[in-house]
């Protein structure tokens, strides 16, 4: 599977050196600290990271959902080469958000309005963005429900969200997202709240839609398995920065950054028996006062003098970048018993 095959010319979405800050009582939290990424047409990018790494903030920034006390401090977000920031950009952004770029949220239980019928909620999108009449919108909504695999869509239109199960609600969310035939779908942990067999159904649906509609997808998740199945390219985030990016096969097979290596080896696998997992001691740094230099140095077994200076995201191979002074060095020994018991 080639990544750049479809991404000739201007990428669909570019995020450049984006910094997002949140003014909180504890001080200024640097949520994003210079994130650069781009997505081409028909491409699927997986953004992986733990809580607080900035993966959702990146998505929210693109969708214009950063609200007070947060703000975009610097950097740029471009859609087909045109900036979405500034007063001109914001007018442009209002036209494309929800229409050309759509988002699916994590929690299908709370993202739908509980007092409106499903048909009304989907119809709203169509009337607002495509100027359809109520009757047209209703017909189209029925088609959309059928497209995301909901049976008896005509009857389902008149039901309320509580009459749908979690998996079905997520299908409704996806139906709303694809209502205006977007070019990019941002899915923020779309399957985290779902059971594993339902997760498989939703991932299958996303893959099908990507094929049939030629969608580009940004899939944000903490689950490395979900990324492995669906994504062409992966970006690994840590403490508000992208620390490694490359083709999915590459990143999983030859992780260069010690954090990526650790993440992969601390994840138990269904198809393998391991005696002990690698455990990355410590916790991610506080983003009010992020450490000087590499943000992973306190937890990194390879850290040394050089790591006091922040490494830049640099090419380690064609199509692969990592932000590390000692990339591709095996960082984790075979784990032993923890030091608690001598």
């Amino acid at each position: 599977m080639s990544v750049s095959a479809n991404s000739t010319g201007t990428p669909l979405l570019e995020v450049e050196k984006l910094k997002v800050e949140f003014d909180t009582r504890r001080g200024l939290v640097q949520g994003l600290r210079g994130v650069t990424l781009s997505i081409g047409r028909g491409e699927t990018l997986g953004v992986v990271g733990e809580s607080g790494s900035g993966k959702s903030v990146t998505a929210q920034a693109v969708m214009g959902l950063i609200d007070l006390p947060g703000r975009i401090a610097s950097g740029d977000i471009r859609w087909k080469g045109r900036s979405l920031l500034g007063s001109d950009g914001e007018r442009y952004a209002r036209d494309i958000r929800g229409k050309e770029v759509a988002m699916v949220f994590q929690d299908p239980m709370t993202s739908l309005n509980p007092v409106l019928k499903i048909g009304t909620q989907i119809g709203e999108v169509l009337e607002r963005h495509l100027g359809m009449t109520r009757a047209q919108a209703r017909n189209r909504a029925e088609e959309l429900l059928a497209a995301v695999g909901i049976s008896a869509p005509g009857r389902r239109l008149d039901q309320y969200p509580h009459e749908f199960s979690g998996g079905m609600r997520q299908r409704v969310m996806i139906a709303m997202a694809i209502a205006c035939e977007p070019e990019l779908l941002i899915a923020d942990e779309p399957t985290t709240a779902l059971d594993v067999t339902i997760q498989a159904q939703i991932l299958e649906l996303l893959a099908e839609l990507q094929q049939s509609l030629g969608l580009s997808v940004v899939l944000i998740t903490h689950d490395l398995g979900v990324v492995a199945g669906l994504c062409h390219r992966v970006a690994v985030m840590y403490a508000g920065q992208i620390i490694e990016t490359g083709l999915a096969e590459d990143v999983f097979e030859r992780p260069a950054h010690p954090y990526t290596q650790g993440l992969l080896r601390s994840t138990p696998r269904l198809d393998e028996v391991s005696d002990r997992l690698v455990s990355i001691e410590g916790t991610p740094p506080n983003l009010v006062t992020p450490p000087e230099g590499c943000s992973f140095q306190q937890r990194c077994p390879l850290s040394g003098e050089a790591c006091r200076k922040a490494p830049k995201l640099e090419h380690i191979r064609p199509d692969a970048e990592a932000a590390c002074w000692r990339p591709s060095v095996p960082a984790w020994a075979t784990p032993l018993m923890s030091p608690t018991f001598p």
């Binding site: 059971d195 490395l224 269904l270």
Partner: protein
């Protein structure tokens, strides 16, 4: 196996559950309506041996948490028997039940909700000791608590701090220290790592394995994450809609699943390896878990099962042994 058993009769199980049923009542429908009852668990049987981890897996609504609670006697069984350390505890009451609870503890899922934010760590860990009258004042147990905190890998100065000062993983360690305070032999861990981030999850899983080895604990490890369960369990049981569909030694279950539901469940778990994952055959069955208020007659999986026959819709299959220790409830496999 950890302890090869000599050619004697095997050691008696620590815990033996036989034909356990749990019934819940739902609210009445309307003012004159009668409350309805539904069976959250039906005919659950399993043994847990000393020093063993039994993984209990199922999707939401399958009854895994109910099983854990029933075994701990937090909810009442409507039928069946729970035998702990050779004694029938199904109907134990009062002081005897309190004593019994010293020996069986619970580790909760959400380390943010399960610790009182107004209590210091030392008070949190000492609380079980106080409640059971083993100490009269926190200060009596200071040394013991220091030791407990060291065992679970918390910093020595953790004593006087409040839960908010700790990360999710550290809070889960506090929860484990609390469960260990009474030196139980048996711990029910209900989704202990599902609220934690990947790298922190590994820390807690490793800690639980170390504690088991050192202290000879037995775990009933309840989780929906099949990869973690494979890693930590010796044996695994799969629940579906309140019934057990399969139970076997870990590798036997993962490498040779027999029940169609187990097969589908395993195939649905994504593997973090693009090449392997793209080649894996996913078995996706449509439909969802049946409503337990009006469960299907016969096998509860029959509404989704591709192998279902007339018999499956009429009569529920019982668990039967297919090879040593591998029990399956299915008519067609």
């Amino acid at each position: 196996m950890l302890n090869p058993v000599p050619a004697q009769p095997p050691a008696p199980p620590l815990l033996s559950v036989q034909g356990l049923d749990v019934t819940y009542e739902t609210g009445a429908q309307g003012f004159w309506g009668r409350p309805k009852a539904f069976k959250a668990l039906e005919d659950i049987s399993f043994d847990l041996h000393p020093g063993e981890t039994l993984g209990l897996v199922g999707e939401s609504g399958s009854g895994k948490t109910t099983t854990g609670r029933a075994v701990l006697r937090r909810i009442t069984a409507s039928a069946g028997k729970i035998v702990f350390q050779g004694k029938d505890i199904t109907h134990t009451k009062g002081e005897a039940l309190r004593k019994l609870r010293r020996n069986m503890q619970l580790v909760f899922q959400d380390p943010y909700a399960s610790l009182n934010p107004r209590m210091r760590v030392i008070d949190l860990v000492a609380e079980p000791l106080l409640v059971h009258g083993l100490i009269r004042h926190v200060d009596e147990a200071r040394d013991r608590i220091t030791e407990l905190l060291r065992i679970v890998g918390l910093p020595a100065d953790a004593h006087d701090r409040f839960p908010h000062a700790f990360s999710g993983g550290q809070r889960q360690r506090i929860g484990i220290a609390r469960a260990l305070a009474l030196q139980p032999e048996f711990i029910v861990a209900d989704e202990p790592v599902s609220a934690l981030d990947v790298s922190v999850r590994a820390q807690v899983v490793n800690l639980m394995q170390d504690l088991q080895r050192e202290l000879g604990l037995s775990y009933l490890f309840i989780a929906h994450d099949l990869s973690v369960v494979r890693h930590i369990s010796h044996r695994v049981a799969i629940l579906y809609a309140g019934r057990m569909v399969e139970i076997a030694d870990r590798d036997d279950l993962y490498d040779h699943p027999i029940h169609p539901y187990t097969e589908a469940l395993l195939s649905a778990v994504p593997v973090p390896d693009p090449r392997t994952q793209r080649q894996r055959k996913r078995i996706v069955y449509g439909g969802e878990i049946p409503d337990l208020v009006n469960p299907p007659a016969g096998c509860r999986f029959s509404t989704r099962c591709p192998l279902a026959t007339e018999q499956c819709h009429k009569e529920a299959p019982k668990l039967s042994e297919r090879s040593a220790g591998h029990l399956v409830a299915c008519w067609n496999r």
